[in-house]
Symmetry: C2
Subunit: 551 residues, 2 copies
């Protein structure tokens, strides 16, 4: 967490954040070792290119009254690669995404964007520019856990805030249930967010019980015979919060004793949409440039509700089509405000589909095999589009490897805040500004390390991908896949991979060595649900039970 020293803060809050107070720093950013190998080979060319890039960024800033570009970063949930933005693919699934297709046509497709394998880690990677495992973030927390993104981590919002941006977060957050992890304590001036995620918000409802998509949580789903432990099933979870930096949060949209239902979920989705549009209005009227995150909850949904709109009809397919229209309103708003040219709009998914619901949700694996929670390309390759009319030619494509953490570093550069990136830890995010400004082929990453939780499962280099052998198995048996010829990772031809075996093993060694030099930081832990002014009695009770059961 970075604070501007002139911002008044509560004393307690100041103490929590003191350790991570970061100032402008110089010296090189510490990247993973594999980047150093690339840098060695290209240092001279990249320095030249960076000079051009800086000049171009200056010109753009001058043309925009001295301000760097606004950034609207839209991250949606669990959508397979190919599911949005490609017109012909809309016909494959019977899901129409005309507005996202239009965004893609007006900007560039980042056709080789890698995320982490699930929601929380991907969001951590974006926020911190680091592999989430380095921040102790390895899995998804859907209930009370007393854990979350540590105050020690420096987020992209903190970097941009420090650089003079106004910052807002609207929608899914999913970085934990402790005060220090909340967005208004991680660099966002304003935040509108649910503490947990869609399993709580759409499945743990009476409608969820009748949806046939998950069995056993709601008491109306079956008789309660033989139930001896009344509290095995999570209850009393906090829902939607709203807060400003330096203040406490309040829970909105649910009264004490009131049951959360699917209609609350619908209302929450509509509220975040409305608040995004309102924030755009507000932010555009300010002097400062802005960074706005809109992380919708839809298309994740587990209940068939409302009028059917798609030919597909699946319970998540439907909501992607609805969301497409909503995102269209956001894009239109950006243009209507007259800020389109110098506002970067990025849209991407946070990981692959929830393949457990494949065939019913309406989503399918399409091109890449696997989905959320898996190191396969289907888990970590996503549709990603970027529109920046002043800079990026309509209908372009960039097939260079980009990892979601690169956005951290790239946003920092674009916002003029690279100096606020910490130098005391590994930053995985690589500055890809040259790629955005000079186009396809100007990427600076040719590798990705893919974790499932705390376990390194795959290493990508160029078009090759090593699936790590099981512990104890000989390295020579590990499969190496050629992703261009075999995008579904079906054929680990030994004869095609033997040449690469040692090179991949070296990559793993280098990566582990750097971890030894810069050990992982711990996940933040604290009393859950602190800093919420109007905690409902049932949430207080749930928290008490959490303590008594986990002492």
């Amino acid at each position: 967490m970075i604070q501007r020293l002139n911002t008044p803060t509560a004393a307690a809050f100041f103490i929590v954040s003191l350790a991570s107070l970061a100032m402008a720093q110089s010296g090189p950013i510490i990247h993973d070792a594999e980047y150093d190998i690339l840098f060695e080979q290209h240092a001279e060319d990249w320095a030249e290119q960076d000079a051009r890039v800086d000049q171009r960024l200056n010109e753009l800033r001058e043309a925009n009254g001295g301000k760097p570009p606004n950034i609207v970063y839209i991250l949606i949930d669990d959508v397979s690669f190919g599911q949005m933005g490609i017109p012909i693919m809309n016909d494959v699934s019977g899901i129409a995404t005309p507005r996202i297709n239009q965004l893609a046509a007006e900007g560039a497709a980042l056709t080789r964007m890698y995320t982490e394998v699930s929601c929380t880690p991907t969001r951590t990677a974006l926020l911190t520019g680091r592999l989430p495992v380095r921040a102790g973030v390895t899995d998804v927390k859907g209930v009370i856990v007393g854990e979350g993104l540590s105050a020690e981590e420096v987020t992209v919002a903190e970097v941009l805030k420090q650089s003079g941006y106004n910052t807002s977060h609207v929608g899914k957050w999913h970085q934990g249930d402790i005060n220090e992890a909340f967005p208004h304590n991680q660099g966002f001036d304003k935040a509108f967010f649910p503490v947990h995620q869609q399993v709580q918000l759409s499945l743990m409802t009476p409608e969820g019980a009748r949806s046939g998509n998950l069995v056993g949580w709601h008491s109306t789903g079956q008789s309660q015979g033989y139930v001896i432990d009344a509290f095995f099933k999570p209850f009393g979870l906090v829902t939607g919060l709203e807060a400003e930096a330096g203040g406490n949060a309040i829970e909105v949209g649910l009264e004490p004793g009131e049951e959360w239902t699917q209609s609350h979920y619908i209302e929450m989705n509509e509220r975040y949409q409305r608040q995004t549009l309102e924030e755009l209005d507000r932010l555009a009227s300010e002097e400062e440039p802005f960074f706005l995150q809109y992380w919708p909850l839809w298309p994740i949904n587990f209940v068939q509700d409302g009028e059917y709109v798609s030919r597909n009809g699946g319970f998540q397919a439907e909501k992607l089509q609805v969301l497409d229209g909503m995102l269209g309103e956001v894009f239109d708003k950006v243009d209507d405000l007259g800020i389109g040219g110098h506002t970067i709009v990025i849209l991407m998914s946070d990981n692959g589909l929830m393949y457990q619901f494949e065939g019913k949700s309406g989503f399918s694996q399409l091109i890449y095999r696997g989905g959320k929670t898996q190191h396969l390309e289907g888990g970590v390759r996503v549709d990603a589009y970027i529109r920046w009319p002043d800079v990026i030619a309509p209908g372009s494509r960039m097939a260079d490897i980009v990892h979601v953490s690169d956005l951290f570093t790239t946003f920092a550069r674009l916002g003029g805040g690279k100096e606020f990136i910490p130098r005391d830890r590994v930053i995985d995010g690589i500055d890809q500004t040259a790629l955005l400004l000079e186009g396809d082929g100007n990427g600076r990453r040719d590798f990705v390390y893919i974790y499932e939780g705390p376990v390194l499962r795959s290493v990508v280099k160029q078009e090759y991908k090593l699936h790590l052998p099981a512990p104890g198995a000989p390295a020579a048996t590990a499969g190496v896949y050629n992703l261009l010829r075999d995008p579904r990772e079906m054929f680990p031809f030994v004869e095609n991979s033997l040449w690469s075996s040692a090179s991949f093993q070296d990559m793993v060694k280098r990566h582990l060595k750097r971890i030894a030099e810069y050990p992982h930081l711990p996940l933040g832990t604290d009393v859950p649900y602190e800093g919420i002014d109007n905690l409902r009695p049932e949430s207080i009770k749930a928290r008490e039970l959490f303590f008594s059961r986990n002492k």
Copy 2:
């Protein structure tokens, strides 16, 4: 076969073709029973629409000096759905198809085009407008067989010839090795074609022996120890023929005693490209409208030859990228001749990839599961693009079901020759002219019967697909797949299919009943290689052996 009565023909030829001499006929075309069910529901609307369509076709004809449109029909081999024409998908495979992408952008994508499961049947379906099983065509003939497309069949070239078109065929033909089956005896004024296919032309070569892609044919591939039968391996096959309607063929490009090699194959591909461009020049200078088929042999290839051009580098991927540039020359030629507006250019694949070479060829299953020879969507769903500047808006999509046989009937309508479609047999091809003229949602087919050889394996209706149960297995165990939600046909949810079980069984019954009313016609059979003026001695010997071994 239809002949224009004023065309002089050799007497022998006339006798062969007498049985199929077809004259203008009236009365309804006999379609499969499932179409009648659709027709019943839409007769009135379709009649109205057809009146509009006829008026529009008349206007177009008037604007074009009284002539119907030219048709350039390009059919390529064994390319998976999604492999060409979709820019972002080019990055998935590392195969660039900019010219095909451009064709798609200038015209319409037929996003639900179905073919037959392999080369010969798909081509028969296009040529005859019939499920190939009705013409006795069930499999692929790669060697001497004395079989081929029967003279009894009426081809689209015959229909268009009768309607006043000039007709040419260049490239792969693959409809058998008997004289009556050759293109110049099936309605084409001019024909340039190999008798067999790419296994002979690219694999059965010294380079093929060293390619590692097929083992055992060429004598240099291994020592000949224990070989007792010297003639188990095919030899002496005829290669490329050229002919004009009513005349005999001559073999070109290979001298008696000369060995066929990969460089002959390359030369053949380049020759067909050159001849296509020459034919375009010639045909455009004639008074009559024209129908030109260009059926390239590439991308099928089994040898790594020449300079590498694609990032993928697979031995078929390479040739798709090369072919893309060649097709660009064809598209440019159409435009340069000033006939672009009223020349329909169609490009499609004949079936899915040869999945046996997946991972090595550079092609992969991409979106749909399965490939050539299989009833799965990966076998029969292909990329298909149509450009017709006077009529079709750039960048359109048509997601209606179209079967390759529909092109027969649609071309007949567009060419003003519907009256020449025979009324004494089932024509599976449905007139999709309204779809082309009035766009997405105006298709007249919602079903496909999918055969593997002589066996009905799947029935498609709307987005549902029944995989037929094995003989003797109860119908209730048959899987029904929802292709929008499950494009890879992985999840035969019984609960989603029980409602459709009886409806699908009825579809099968109706289909079989119509076959009983209009039984399949036999495949043509005759002495192989008749009608070739310069048969090489080795071909004569191979034919003799064929007789002595199959008497």
